[in-house]
């Protein structure tokens, strides 16, 4: 299978190193990984190991100090801010730890948001929204605003939002961290099912053993370096 994500000697530094002060932190140090299409992978490591930084760089939310990111063969490190936004819109779905739904939009509107940006017509948008709401079990809550939904329900909407535009890659940053155990399991089961049915590539950053149990590959990070890469 083709590589969907490929990083080459990807590095990200914070702080500075000079004669006066040495505050340089290598958040990510020459990380080179390849993720194939349809993988359900997890990046695992202790806090400060560089998991989120790696996810940010892969998602084009941050710019590397060294190295490059290729997504489906496209070099994104050199893209302008606007080009990156359009690339993310069409190719990447994000699921955030804190759900990060748009508070002034209802569940259905949050799901429709990216499709509106893509210029998909209303009929198609509506059809896809109804389908995905059924898949995540929220058909009866489509008109509720985020503050009228539980944490688990909000994360389901976030998953639906990430998947509805059918991106090549879904990046999920600790998606179960704020959920109770049962809700987390339900959500992971749902994502795994969607992964298997639709062939989307999932890449998680997580501490959660439940995700690790279900991941087809686990990449271990420590001090910004890959220390272990385990495929199951």
């Amino acid at each position: 299978m083709n590589n969907v994500i490929q990083t080459e000697t990807l590095s990200r530094y914070f702080g500075e190193s000079s004669k006066e002060a040495d505050t340089l932190v290598k958040a990510l140090d020459k990380v080179s990984i390849e993720i194939k299409q349809g993988e359900f992978s997890a990046i695992v490591g202790p806090s400060g190991s560089g998991k989120s930084t790696l996810l940010h760089l892969i998602g084009g939310l941050d710019t590397p100090d060294e190295g490059s990111v290729l997504l489906a063969g496209t070099q994104i490190s050199e893209m302008s801010s606007a080009e990156l936004c359009r690339y993310r819109r069409d190719n990447i779905g994000f699921i955030f730890q804190a759900y990060n739904l748009i508070p002034v939009l209802s569940a259905a509107e949050n799901i429709e948001y990216i499709m509106l940006l893509q210029g998909i017509d209303e009929q198609e948008r509506r059809k896809r929204t109804i389908e995905i709401l059924q898949q995540v079990g929220l058909s009866d809550k489509e008109n509720r605003r985020p503050n009228q939904l539980s944490g688990g329900q909000q994360q389901r909407v976030a998953v639906a939002r990430a998947m509805v535009s059918q991106p090549k890659i879904i990046l999920a940053d600790e998606p179960t961290a704020n959920l109770d155990s049962q809700t987390g399991i339900e959500l992971l089961t749902m994502m795994k099912k969607l992964n298997q049915e639709q062939g989307m590539t999932f890449l998680f950053s997580t501490h959660d053993p439940k995700i690790m149990e279900r991941a087809s590959r686990i990449i271990y990070l420590e001090d910004g370096k890959v220390v272990k890469d385990e495929t199951r």
């Binding site: 939310l61 993310r88 819109r89 730890q97 508070p103 002034v104 948001y113 940006l117 940053d173």
Partner: protein
């Protein structure tokens, strides 16, 4: 656009208190700008009216040298002039006047004054001398002893109605001084010190006899049907009644100080507008930045899921535009209401003298189309300009930093 419209309108509604405060700020400025415009225009009209319609007239004809020295020997031939002007369709009233320096004396005092001979019949249609009489009567022209003096002059001369005064006028040929005895037939009050203390009015024919030339005149004053016509330098009247012997001039040339001052009112209006705009701009920028800071993570989210910097810029500008339009509508309606109410009752500045002009009537605001077209549109435009910086700031937010706490 539908998406941006939906987001912008809901973002405005999400913090109603802040939105109301912003709308209040912008609409108040619209009200002040509209009222200031109505008041300045009303004040200008009032001052022009006070300056021209109280005594001088919208325009005057003199000998070209007369206004430099007020020497009565600079005179021009009157024959047929008043009749010709009266036949002009644009002219509403015409009167001829003699003007000369004079000495007036009573048993108690002596004062130098300007003796003005007027035709009582034509004068009363042009100026407010008749209505300014506070004691006695307006001139009739029937007797040769009647004279009207100002109340301040009456105090200085220690005279009252029917008291005798002597007026001495130098003859035009400088050969002699003509003197005559008058009885004070009327006392006037214009509330302009120069007039109340330094002018006396007597019948024109008598005045010309004292001057020694009944065919020449120092001044012809006239009013237009529409006072605004006096400011129109392209009118044929100016050329028609000007020659080597006489020059027809609008009040703008006769009272250059007043004309300049009124011109400065436009600048005052501009400065008031700029100060208001600065206050509004700072308020709008502050409000927009508060709104942006509050939603920083949200901008990170929408940028992460594919909203372009341009769309975020448009979103902030659209929010500013909606606030500005709502404010402009509210401000315009209230501003026009204020102007309407002040236009009915007016603000009483009467009895106040300003650069030699006494404001006679209450100042009434004027409602004109600019107040519900250009002025609110300017405020909308300037509000949008104030939104530019916050919009650029939001568009340039780096998603990683914006999401730092929440991702």
């Amino acid at each position: 656009m539908y998406l941006l419209w939906k987001l912008a309108s809901r973002n405005i509604l999400r913090n109603t208190k802040r939105s109301i405060l912003t709308i209040l700020l912008i609409s108040t400025s619209v009200i002040i700008v509209i009222f200031s415009d109505g008041f300045v225009v009303g004040m200008t009209d009032n001052m022009v009216k006070s300056a021209t319609r109280v005594f001088s007239g919208d325009a005057q004809i003199h000998h070209p040298e007369f206004l430099q020295s007020y020497d009565p020997s600079y005179r021009f031939n009157l024959s047929g002039l008043v009749k010709s002007l009266q036949d002009e369709p644009l002219i509403a009233a015409v009167t001829a006047r003699s003007i000369s320096p004079a000495m007036i004396s009573s048993s108690a005092n002596i004062k130098s004054v300007q003796a003005i001979g007027i035709n009582p019949d034509t004068e009363k249609h042009l100026s407010k001398i008749e209505s300014s009489v506070i004691a006695g009567n307006y001139l009739t022209g029937d007797t040769t002893t009647e004279i009207m003096i100002g109340y301040l002059l009456a105090e200085a001369l220690e005279v009252t109605l029917n008291d005798r005064v002597v007026l001495s006028i130098p003859a035009l040929d400088q050969s002699d001084v003509s003197q005559d005895l008058f009885r004070v037939s009327g006392i006037f009050q214009f509330n302009t010190k120069m007039m109340d203390e330094g002018m006396v009015f007597l019948p024109l024919e008598h005045s010309l006899q004292l001057l020694g030339d009944t065919n020449s005149i120092q001044e012809v004053a006239f009013n237009f049907v529409n006072p605004k016509l006096a400011e129109d330098t392209s009118l044929q009247i100016w050329q028609k009644y000007s020659s080597n012997e006489q020059v027809a001039q609008s009040w703008t040339e006769i009272f250059p100080t007043l004309s300049t001052l009124l011109g400065m009112l436009d600048y005052t209006m501009l400065i008031v507008g700029l100060i208001l705009y600065m206050i509004v701009a700072l308020g709008v920028i502050n409000s927009m930045f508060m709104s942006i800071y509050e939603r920083t993570w949200e901008f990170g989210v929408i940028k992460a899921v594919g909203t372009t910097p341009q769309q975020i810029f448009q979103l902030i500008m659209l929010e500013g535009f909606i606030l500005a339009i709502i404010s402009a509508v509210i401000g315009t309606l209230l501003g026009l209401l204020v102007n309407y109410l002040v236009a009915i009752n007016g603000i009483d500045y009467s009895q106040i003298e300003f650069v030699g002009v006494t404001i006679v009537d209450p100042v009434k605001t004027v409602i004109r189309p600019i107040q519900y077209s250009q002025l609110p549109l300017w405020v909308v435009l300037l509000t949008l300009i104030a939104c530019l910086y916050p919009a650029i700031f939001a568009a340039r937010l780096v998603p990683n930093k914006a999401l730092h706490k929440s991702l």
